[in-house]
């Protein structure tokens, strides 16, 4: 199909005003289905392109920056597929959650108006409808832009283009958090913007160093041999730091618990599973593939940094009382796995790391959806106030268990397939190099999986098992809009776990090529 990737990236952007108008004039349901339809169509395009092997498209752009292109190869396709699949599924899930949120905010604003004006105002139902319509229009428009920003980043073939998409996904993210988040949402939205923007600036610095030295920003022109060693090293470090902020690895992670905790849940379910992992994509593409010599020097540091992040994130997750903050720390720990896999510097380790992105997207997607259902149906997200919900919301509980197993890496969920391949890669390098540091890291990494299991099982126990507190006696199962998307992902996790070739068939040959195996 001609212009396939161009369509996949730009259709959502071009049609986002339509979603806005639809929401505003007609209501949230048509806007939701419209968004869903666009994303479904573009997802099919993406999957179709992925099935036909490597797809490349190039379009003329400016003289200075080079070409504007899209590339979908073995590296990009799993990322692209997961991003759009999640976006599509979450569009449906968004509706009940966001309507719940709009109602809440409407009441809040009414209260403020009420106390300001001092008169008793009769709440008109049409005012609420208008409010919800307007907000949902805006929400779905931003949602589409957010999704396309993520896809654009992983398909970009040019440093500047990469940077632009990188920022494009940030801006709607900021608005989504600042407008409909929980708690001090504006402050947290700004924090999100500042942190990731600061990261992006460092990233841009790295890009400029490469681009200006080589005189071209096209991926195709990046040859490490033409770069002076020190420039290559500086730019690689800058890129790693810039992307490290996005990945929320240890020391750069502090924005993430706030943002994931505050963001509206469907957005958390995109931020954590899909967005932050794009940092790993960037490292794969820009450092592992384009700067292999520099990478081989940095790999051990990635390995250790990843290990520290794994353990640190897990330990902090144990200490949380807020369900969404808990999931956020778990995401930090999981991003540590990705970085650990990248640092293993073997084809299998890298393939495992990419597989971990896929499985984390599935597992964490399920878990955030679970959190959303609990927020809507129970109204609290504090572990100390939850418990025994399995009997009240069985579907959510089953899906949550599958999601947790996916994160823990227990077969037959997809998590195991990522994990063992990744650890195998780590072991391979450790033995081949005879490196004690790597061998110890391998061991500690495996121990960290036991830590992951502990915090996940403890979470399940505190939310779903044990005695049902008095105030939760009347809790109901979430609506089908919310449970069906979750069930789809849960099923997907098991399918991938038993038949991982769906992704491995593209990932492994690519990684073998990159590592020259």
């Amino acid at each position: 199909m001609e212009y396939a990737l161009l369509q996949a990236v730009f259709l959502p952007l071009l049609l986002s005003p339509v979603a806005y108008i639809l929401g505003r004039k007609v209501g949230p349901t048509p806007a939701m289905w419209f968004t869903f339809a666009i994303l479904l169509y573009t997802t099919i395009i993406v999957i179709n392109a992925a099935l036909s092997g490597t797809v490349e498209e190039h379009y003329p752009w400016t003289e200075q920056f080079g070409e504007f292109g899209f590339l979908m190869d073995g590296l990009a396709s799993p990322f692209a597929i997961m991003i759009y699949v999640l976006s599509t599924i979450l569009a449906i899930y968004s509706k009940p959650y966001m309507i719940h949120k709009f109602h809440e905010q409407f009441e809040e604003e009414q209260k403020i108006n009420h106390s300001e004006s001092g008169q008793s105002s009769v709440v008109e139902s049409s005012a609420l409808t208008n409010y919800v319509n307007a907000k949902s229009g805006l929400y779905f428009a931003l949602y589409l832009v957010f999704a396309m920003g993520m896809l654009g980043t992983v398909l970009a073939t040019n440093l500047i283009e990469f940077y632009i998409f990188f920022e494009v996904m940030l801006i709607p993210g900021f608005f989504l958090v600042a407008l409909w988040g929980d708690g001090p949402r504006r402050k947290i939205g700004l924090m999100f913007l500042f942190w990731t923007h600061a990261g992006a600036v460092v990233l841009l610095l790295g890009f400029l160093m490469i681009g200006l030295t080589l005189g071209s920003f096209d991926f195709a022109d990046i040859q490490e041999s033409e770069l002076p060693a020190d420039i290559a090293m500086y730019s690689a470090v800058a890129i790693a730091i810039g992307l490290g902020v996005k990945l929320a690895v240890f020391m750069y992670h502090i924005w993430l618990p706030y943002v994931h905790g505050a963001a509206p849940t469907p957005i958390s379910a995109l931020l954590s599973p899909a967005m932050i992992g794009i940092g790993a994509y960037g490292i794969f593409r820009l450092i592992v593939e384009f700067l292999p010599a520099t990478f081989s020097e940095l790999a051990i540091w990635f390995h250790i940094w990843g290990l520290v992040t794994m353990i640190y994130g897990g330990a902090m997750a144990l200490m949380q009382d807020d369900l969404k903050r808990f999931l956020a720390y778990s995401s930090i720990s999981q991003m540590g796995y990705l970085l650990f896999g990248i640092g293993s510097m073997s084809a299998y380790g890298l393939a495992g790391a990419e597989m971990m992105y896929v499985t984390h997207a599935i597992g964490k997607g399920i878990l955030f959806m679970m959190a959303g259902i609990i927020i809507v149906k129970v109204g609290t997200r504090s572990f100390s106030k939850l418990g025994g919900l399995a009997g009240k919301m069985p579907i959510t509980a089953v899906c949550a268990v599958i999601g947790a197993l996916t994160i823990m890496g227990v077969p037959p969920t997809s998590g195991f397939m990522g994990e063992w391949i990744m650890f195998y890669g780590a072991l391979e390098t450790a033995i081949a190099e005879g490196s004690t540091v790597r061998a110890v890291a391998f061991g500690l990494g495996l121990v960290a999986t036991a830590l992951t299991m502990s915090y996940m099982l403890w979470m399940l126990k505190r939310v779903f098992f044990g005695k049902l507190p008095e105030h939760l006696q009347n809790v109901k199962e979430g609506s089908w809009y919310m449970t069906i998307p979750m069930m789809i992902l849960a099923g997907f996790s098991i399918v991938v776990g038993i038949y991982p070739d769906i992704f491995l068939k593209t990932i492994i040959p690519y990684m073998n090529g990159v590592m020259g195996v």
């Binding site: 502090i254 924005w255 330990a315 650890f423 099982l457 403890w458 098992f465 044990g466 991982p500 068939k505």
Partner: protein, 691 residues
């Protein structure tokens, strides 16, 4: 085996069906449950039966010492195949698992009657059986690991089956603490403990698997045996023994061997049918099976000059330590299911000891057969004992033996069957399977000719005495003596004690009868097994066993020819001592055990040590739960929330607003000062230009 169906040989098809059928039943269970909860039990029992029949159809293959090996493509990207390997070992194991599971499923229909979560129960039971059969019949380690984790997952779900944490479903004594750690566990806690603790073993196992895969490039058992260059390469780097020991780590976790044994006791929070399944057919037997699976490989490598004796030494010693450690605790515990759980761990220790010692002797097949024979006989009597104990719990409504007593007149069938199965556990001479299998282990240990033979043998005999003692104690406490206050109260309230329902007593009756029935022909059964394994080891691994010339001067009567007189004598003495002591305290009640223990400080201290589980459980909690949580809390409070959160969020924000204030200070709005600065700047520029 020429018959074919859909391109499969019949036997091969069976090997797939044995484990796919239970999974299929699990998959359809939620749907069936939606239609009719009543139908779920028929599906469960029916599929369990079909799986068992599939297993039975493979028996001729085992008797002919054939092998069925069938593979399909699985993960093409890495070139991994999935497959089934039905050799005598796995076929015998599959049959033990399938038939005992089938009986337990029948028992469950009575035991779980009226539970409103019954669909979930059947789902996990079938999942459990399927996972276990997957372990048994897989032809490669990665696929085994799927079953391995599936077993762990199912045990987690079933141990915490009564997830509402009602008081009656807890184990331990409420309010009792050991070293500051509560010795009282809710089902959800117990499930978590089991899953995490076995995961520690699994982590070791996967490390071992990956090490082997790294050198061999395959997970397949046949492939590993086919070309042993990988072992040479690993041995050269000193990684062969560590890899096997790491694999054994997985077995330690699943089989509750020291030091990963503590989860097994809390696993008693599950429904008793689950305990029976865990202890007799699935889960804890998985570890023994794994050792039986890889043991011959290690031994064959040793025979080929790639020595890994330390592996067998570790297996034997871990088994011996566990056997004694858990048996001692079984002597003092007041809860009937816990006594049985301790007993399981201890008996599994015997099996490990036998499998370990086998590798240290020249007659590998002797120890191997002994260990495996004990696995089979233990599966029968332990399943029977657990199910009988479940009936008691069901009827008495208490897990404490002190709440029972004097039940022999009310529950005659259970009483009789419990004696039969209990005699099996004690190893009552000549009539029980337990005797023959235990005696075989004694003989294997004694004859191994290894430097460790004598200490191991002493431990084995000591454990046998204790085993006979605690079994007698259990039966004495439950069935003899006066009725407890609890029972009198029940009877006053109009709940007389009665026999369990038919669907419950028949399954454990069958197994109890089998324990005695096979026991009577025990020696020839063992010889048959020995024969089968001898061929199996020879054909598949090239392990030959040299037949020692029959001992001419044996003092034994004719029907016991071929037995080792020392081992035989030791078994007899151990049985008599144990049951005699038990009789004095708990059946004859000539001495009051409480007074006896309190009579002097030494007995008191020992009793307390055993009751507090050698303090191991508390130590595990202190080291791996309390301390890490304390550390994490410290890091969270003093690093995450201060250095990182405050320093990098609020700190940057404060610095920025402070900077803004400084600059703001210059914006005075007074035109004179602006003019002054402007003038100074101008002067500065002019000066620079002039210079």
């Amino acid at each position: 085996m020429a018959t074919e169906l859909m391109g499969f040989e019949i036997g091969t098809l069976s090997a797939w069906l044995v484990w796919i059928l239970p999974f299929a039943a699990a998959m359809i269970m939620p749907g069936i449950g939606k239609l009719s909860q009543n139908a779920t039990k028929f599906i469960a029992v029916g599929f369990a039966l079909m799986s068992a029949i599939s297993a039975a159809t493979m028996i001729p293959v085992a008797l002919e010492a054939h092998e069925l090996h069938h593979q399909i493509m699985w993960i093409e990207a890495i070139g991994l195949k999935a497959g089934v390997l039905a050799d005598p070992l796995s076929i015998i194991m599959a049959n033990v698992v399938a038939w005992i599971s089938f009986l337990i499923m029948i028992y469950s229909t009575g035991y779980m009657k009226g539970d409103k979560d019954i669909t979930r129960f059947w789902f996990w039971m079938m999942f459990f059986i399927g996972s276990m059969q997957l372990i048994v019949l897989s032809d490669n380690l990665l696929q085994v690991f799927f079953g391995w984790e599936g077993v762990g997952l199912a045990s987690y779900a079933l141990i915490s089956f009564w997830y509402r944490d009602k008081k009656k479903d807890h184990v331990g004594t409420e309010g009792r603490t050991v070293l500051g750690m509560l010795d009282y566990y809710a089902p959800t806690h117990a499930g978590m403990k089991a899953f995490i603790m076995t995961k520690v073993g699994d982590v070791m196992m996967i490390a071992g698997m990956l090490l082997i895969f790294l050198f061999a490039g395959t997970f397949g058992f046949k492939e590993l045996m086919g070309n042993t260059d990988w072992a040479t390469a690993m041995a050269a780097q000193g990684l062969l023994v560590p890899a096997f020991v790491l694999l054994f780590g997985g077995a330690m976790g699943k089989s509750a061997q020291f030091p990963l044994n503590e989860w097994l006791l809390e696993a008693m929070t599950g429904p008793t049918a689950v305990s029976a399944l865990i202890h007799a057919a699935t889960m804890v037997k998985a570890g023994v099976f794994l050792v039986a699976r890889i043991g011959p490989l290690v031994f064959a490598l040793g025979a080929a000059g790639i020595l890994a004796d330390q592996f067998f030494e570790i297996v034997a010693w871990v088994g011996a330590i566990t056997a004694l450690l858990l048996a001692t605790q079984g002597m003092v515990n007041p809860e009937i299911k816990k006594v049985l759980a301790y007993s399981t761990g201890s008996q599994i220790g015997y099996m490990m000891m036998a499998l370990g010692v086998a590798g240290l002797s020249h007659q590998y097949v002797d120890g191997y057969t002994a260990g495996f024979f004990h696995l089979i006989s233990h599966a029968m009597f332990k399943a029977s004992l657990f199910m009988a104990a479940g009936s008691l719990l069901h009827i008495v409504g208490s897990r404490f033996m002190t709440d029972m007593g004097g039940l022999r007149k009310h529950m005659k069938k259970t009483y009789a069957f419990m004696w039969a199965a209990g005699l099996g556990l004690m190893g009552a001479p000549f009539i029980t399977t337990g005797f023959w299998s235990k005696d075989a282990i004694f003989a294997a240990v004694y004859e191994s000719g290894n430097e460790w033979a004598l200490p191991l043998f002493a431990i084995a005999v000591l454990t046998a005495i204790i085993t006979a003692f605690y079994t007698t104690r259990m039966i004495g406490l439950v069935f003899f003596g006066k009725k407890s206050k609890h029972i009198e109260k029940m009877e006053e309230e109009g709940h007389p004690i009665h026999e369990a329902s038919v669907s419950m007593w028949v399954p454990y009756g069958i197994l109890a009868v089998l324990t005695i029935g096979i026991g009577i022909i025990g020696l020839s059964a063992e010889e048959g097994l020995h024969h089968t394994f001898e061929y199996y080891l020879k054909n598949s691994f090239g392990i030959y066993s040299s037949h020692a010339a029959a001992d001419e001067s044996s003092i034994l009567p004719e029907f016991l020819q071929g037995l080792n007189p020392v081992a035989l004598g030791a078994s007899l003495v151990a049985f008599a001592t144990g049951i005699g002591l038990g009789y004095i305290f708990y059946i004859g009640r000539w001495v009051d055990p409480v007074k006896f223990v309190n009579s002097n400080i030494f007995f008191y201290a020992i009793h307390k040590l055993f009751l507090n589980r050698w303090y191991l459980n508390a130590i595990v909690y202190w080291c791996f739960v309390t301390t890490p949580l304390w550390l994490a809390r410290g890091v969270s409070r003093y690093f995450e929330k201060t250095a990182i959160d405050y320093g990098m969020n609020d700190g940057v924000q404060k610095a920025a607003s402070w900077g803004a204030k400084v600059i703001q200070g210059t914006q005075t709005g007074v035109s004179q000062s602006y003019l002054f600065v402007f003038g100074a700047g101008l002067l500065f520029v002019v000066l620079i230009l002039l210079m």
